[in-house]
Symmetry: C2
Amino acid sequence: MIEPLDGERADHPTTDLDEVVHQRHRLGILTIAAETRQAEFGYLREALDLTAGNLSRHITVLAEAGLLDIHKGYQGRRPRTWVRITPAGQAALAREMATLRALLSRHDND
Amino acid sequence: MIEPLDGERADHPTTDLDEVVHQRHRLGILTIAAETRQAEFGYLREALDLTAGNLSRHITVLAEAGLLDIHKGYQGRRPRTWVRITPAGQAALAREMATLRALLSRHDND
C-alpha cells in the first residue's frame, strides 16, 4: 500500500482526463475526425458500430463543447451530415493522447 | 472523407474499449490497484481527487464486475477499506492498455 506524504499532490494521470473527450465513443469520433478532412455521419456510425441516435447524441456533446463543427448538405440528391474537428478539438485530442501516453508509460514502468 | 468498402469491418480501436474499465476514475482505481499489493480507500480518494461517495460507487462497479476485491479491517483502531485487483482485473486492465496503445499508434501515424 502506498500512503501519500503530507502535502503531496498525488496527481494521477487519470485526473487530467476530460470526460467529454475520454468517453470511448467520443474518443472514436474525434480520432476519426482528426484523421480525415471531414467525416460523414454514416461512415462514423459504421466505423464505431453506433446507432444513429447514439452517434447523434455524442456528436452534439462534442459540437456543444466546441470540439466539432457539423455541416449538413447533399451528396447527389441525398442529404448528408459531415463533421469536422475544430482547432479546439485538435488541442483537446492532443491533451487526451498525451495523458494516455503518460498513463501507459507509468503502467509499463511498474 | 473516408468511405468504408462494402463488407469491410472498420474495427476502430475505440470499439474494443470496455466502459467498465475505460471510465477515467475506474481506470485510475485499477491502475493504482495494479501498482500496489493493496490500495487503501483514503489513499485512492486523495490520489484521484474523488469524494468518498463517488469513489465508493466506482469501486462497487469494479467489484461487481469481478475486477477488484474489497477488504475491510482495522489499521490500529481505525476501520479501513482496502481494494485488491483480481486476476480478471489485471486481464481487463491489460486489454485496456493494449487498446490504448493501438489507438495512440494509429494516431501517431496520421
